[in-house]
Amino acid sequence: MYYLGIDIGSLSCDAVLIDEKKQILSSSVIPTGAKNQEAIERVCNEVLMKKNISKDQIKAIVSTGYGRERVTDRLSSVTEITCHAKGIHALIPEAQVLIDIGGQDSKAIRLNNRGKVQDFAMNDKCAAGTGRFLEAMARALQVDIEELSMMDNGATELITISSMCTVFAESEVVSLIANGTAVNEIVNGLNRSISSRTIGLVKRVAPDIDGLSIAMSGGVAHNKGVVKALSKVLNTDIQIPEKPDTVGALGAALIALERS
């Protein structure tokens, strides 16, 4: 029998399929779009088709993410905080602090040595420092999100983006462009802005951060510039799993296995 975890985020919908031995068989990430029910169905079909497995071979589904209650045939729904902790512990067992930056949330999670959530802190009701923030900035710079992650090479940390608000930061970026500021400097400023906001969350759950093993999950973990800025402030390497955006879905699949 197989177990499925589905993470319905604001930007992407992710699924991970595992077997009874907790082996990852397949995973899939698609944009959530405006109709999350359709995205759920599509991501499920994708992940099953990759291994030629039918729906009736799935013993249990656990859903997570902001749309977790939209999955109709779930065994249960679990928050993304618990699922990300579970997922990262399976992939990087030594992780003590997890930074997860998704589409509309950023979180810092402190894990105990069994991979359970010991404490967590989330951003308040504001998109600053999240995937949505980066999307808005990429739009202002007229580049796509993948390009943005590579664009701070050679920057000299000349620019500081002082606005935390996404809307104000976007107009700040537009002004910098108008002033002829080099794009790599602007992107570097944005990355440092995100890292400074995230560090605030990290320090709340791990005031004793020195020497702790830190990992990162969520779509923003693909952004090399943000990871570099975070590593620099934390003065340590950040471990990133091969597919950081599917960590929540993996955690959900593992919970499905445990609970069924």
Binding site: Y66, T79, E80, V117, K125
Partner: protein, 406 residues
């Protein structure tokens, strides 16, 4: 409109009591008395005093004054689901959006003529200066006299005397405005009611500490704040007795006030006043019950009939929000231990310096005794920016974390 609202509420509860012969639930008894109080407040037949939260309401009641703290109106408008128009009105008057919504709604209600005209106002310097400023605004709007009780921060002999003397002056101030001096017999009767209610409510809170608790997340919600309005009256005693009888029965039969109790929570400061599904979700999906509210506690000794002003001064000084922050922290730690709390939720009411200013220290202090704290960012009055999904995720994650610890 508001008088009608209270009258309909009274009618509704009384009708349901007539139709249903079983005994009245404690919360309904409390709601009925508050509705009767609200109806009197808006009746235009009573002498009204708008007050601060730590005014001796029993003393005013003994002097035939219907007195109410101004924040009551904000909470009422929010629970009626009609607060946003009043808040907009305050914003149009130039009050910023990051001001406490309790106070913004009061300003809006005043401008829209929804606040009964007072005979005078009595403010208190505790728990917040924002409330005092709003009352000054009201005094100016209604062109009425404003008396301020300056609540000292400690209960030293000099401080207590200082406040007791102010209360004496307050009595004189009231008598000058009503033309009626204080009737000592009435005051003695009010003190008897207050002390009896105090003793029974202390029992109620003691019973609520049982495991499982006879309360659920709603039965005692916010009671510690508005119950003070009924002190000095038989209603306060009656309500306390109904709670005590209900709780004694439940504790004897080892019955939880909720469907099932697994996680025991402490709610810090005031509740979210507008309708939402969070409490139901917590109880139904996680068996998580708010068994204690920070503001539900008796922190004062009985009122001495021979020296009431000194006792009343001590009572006003005793609230945990007064004085050094450590006092509030010590009180929270004590409550967490007494109620065997697994976790605490602080809504961090938007715009409230009491609610947000100390959140970090409270969080760290409770963590030290093994009680995790969830800090939300909620406006407890204005639902305009309320995103239930986001708050729900934080609460659910918090409860999942606690479940793993049990």
């Amino acid at each position: 409109m508001i008088k009608e609202y209270f009258d309909n509420l009274i009618q509704g509860i009384e009708n349901s009591l007539n139709e249903n012969s079983k005994k009245i639930s404690p919360r309904k008894a409390y709601a009925l008395e508050l509705a009767r109080f609200g109806s009197r407040l808006y009746s235009e037949n009573e002498r009204i005093a708008w007050c601060g939260l730590t005014v001796p309401f029993d003393l005013l009641s003994a002097m035939n004054i219907t007195s109410c703290f101004v924040e009551f109106v904000g909470a009422m408008l929010s629970s009626m689901g009609s607060v946003s128009d009043f808040i907009k009105e305050a914003e149009m008057e130039g009050f910023p959006g990051d001001l406490c919504s309790y106070h913004r709604s009061i300003i809006g209600a005043t401008k829209k003529d929804f606040m009964p005209k007072p005979d005078f106002l009595i403010g208190t310097s505790c728990p917040c200066s924002g409330g005092l400023a709003v009352m000054e605004n009201l005094a100016s709007h209604f062109k009425k006299d404003f008396f301020v009780l300056n609540i000292p921060q400690s209960d030293s002999k000099e401080h207590v005397k200082y406040l007791a003397d102010q209360i004496k002056y307050m009595v004189k101030f009231i008598a000058e405005h009503t033309g009626e001096p204080m009737d000592k017999e009435k005051l003695q009767q009010a003190i008897l009611y207050t002390n009896e209610a105090r003793e029974i409510m202390a029992e109620v809170y003691q019973l609520a500490q049982s495991v499982p608790s006879p309360t659920n997340s709603q039965l005692l919600a916010n009671i510690g704040i508005a119950y003070a309005l009924l002190l000095g009256t038989p209603a306060a005693v009656n309500i306390a007795k109904i709670y005590r009888d209900d709780f004694v029965q439940k504790v004897k039969s080892n019955t939880s006030g909720a469907q099932k109790e697994r996680i025991r929570l402490l709610w810090i400061q005031n509740r979210i006043q507008f309708k939402n599904n969070l409490i139901n979700m917590m109880e139904q999906e996680y068996n998580a019950v708010i068994v204690a509210d920070e503001l539900n506690d008796i922190t004062w000794e009985p009122i001495d009939p021979d020296d009431p002003f000194t006792s009343m001064a001590l009572r006003s000084i005793s609230i945990p929000f007064n004085g050094k922050g450590q006092r509030r922290i010590d009180h929270l730690i004590d409550m967490a231990k007494r109620y065997k709390i697994h976790g605490a939720i602080n809504p961090c009411n938007w715009g409230c310096r009491q609610g947000t200013g100390m959140r970090g220290i409270i969080e760290q202090s409770l963590k030290k005794i093994g009680v995790p704290v969830l800090n939300l960012e909620v406006d407890c009055i204005d639902s305009t920016n309320f995103s239930e999904g986001q708050i729900k995720t934080r609460i659910q994650a918090f409860l999942e974390m606690i479940e793993e610890r049990l």
